[in-house]
């Protein structure tokens, strides 16, 4: 790289953003500078190849099937998300609505008496059942 010519002018030529004066300057320079002429030719070749490369046809495979699957999965995820969200909210409402019972006056006494009554009832029922079973089963 010995030539100190502004290479950006070549890039501007490729981009078609070159000024008329720069175009004349470039044309004249390329006539006598072999190095820049070589660069110019290779860059123009690269430009043509890039155009071809990015605009060639590409075969699409199974994309329609993939699209249907993606949409179904996204909608499915979303509905699943809504369902679990609703369940969580329902559970929270039930928990919050039962919390007030703890703050009612005498709630602890009621709870204690209910537990006691339940234990007593169980022992009475089991005594009755045992007696009835003894009557039914033949004694030795």
């Amino acid at each position: 790289m010995s030539c100190r010519f502004d290479k950006e002018i070549i890039q501007k030529y490729i981009d078609n953003t070159i000024e008329p004066l720069e175009r004349i300057f470039l044309k004249e320079h390329l006539q006598y500078c072999e190095e820049c002429r070589g660069d110019f030719n290779i860059l123009m070749t690269a430009e043509n190849e890039l155009d071809k490369f990015f605009n060639k046809g590409i075969e699409l495979k199974d994309i329609d099937f993939m699209i249907e699957n993606i949409v179904d999965n996204c909608i499915g995820d979303e509905q699943g998300g809504i369902l679990s969200h609703s369940i969580r909210i329902g559970k929270r409402i039930a928990e919050n609505s039962s919390k007030f019972v703890n703050f009612l006056p005498g709630s602890k006494y009621v709870k204690k008496r209910v537990n006691l009554a339940a234990t007593k009832s169980i022992s009475i029922i089991s005594t009755i059942l045992r007696k009835q079973l003894d009557k039914l089963l033949p004694s030795d």
Partner: protein, 186 residues
Amino acid sequence: MYADKKLLARCKKHDRTAFVELFKMYEKYLYKLCYSYTQNEQDALDLTQEVYIKVFKNIEKYNDKMPFHPWLRKIAVNTCLNYKRKISSDIISLNSEVSEDKCLEDIIPDGRDCESEVLGRELGRIIKEGIEDLGPKHRMVLILRYYECLSYEEIASVLNEPLGTVKTNIYRARNMLKEKLCEVSL
């Protein structure tokens, strides 16, 4: 390829048929963009899928007063730039794919191939390899420039980068490809 407002409004309501219609409308465009970036069929399909999922999840954020295509392009470009390429094997079989549906057997010229045909294929191969060797940003500016045909200003806006950076990246990318072509011609 322009999605109308009614279709987009239906998509915002998460209408299944509207999404399928919208995605099919852009399938070729998106797949080509992703393929240009990855140079690999499977990676391109993965990326396309990822873009579709992002569009589905973010469709509420889309401002329907603005055109849809640039919004989609921005999602696709960001998805590509964030994509970590899968480690692929270096072993290439004679039947393995080197470009689209061509395998190495097809590239080995038979007696009937003329010189220009071989030269054309060789140039195509060098450009493909050159693009694969470029960094993500250099590759993306070339895609936006040559596939999307965007101006430097538009590319700067899509990538959220200064105009000077975009110009430098394009010049560098071209020069890297030029070096590749020089290496072969020497």
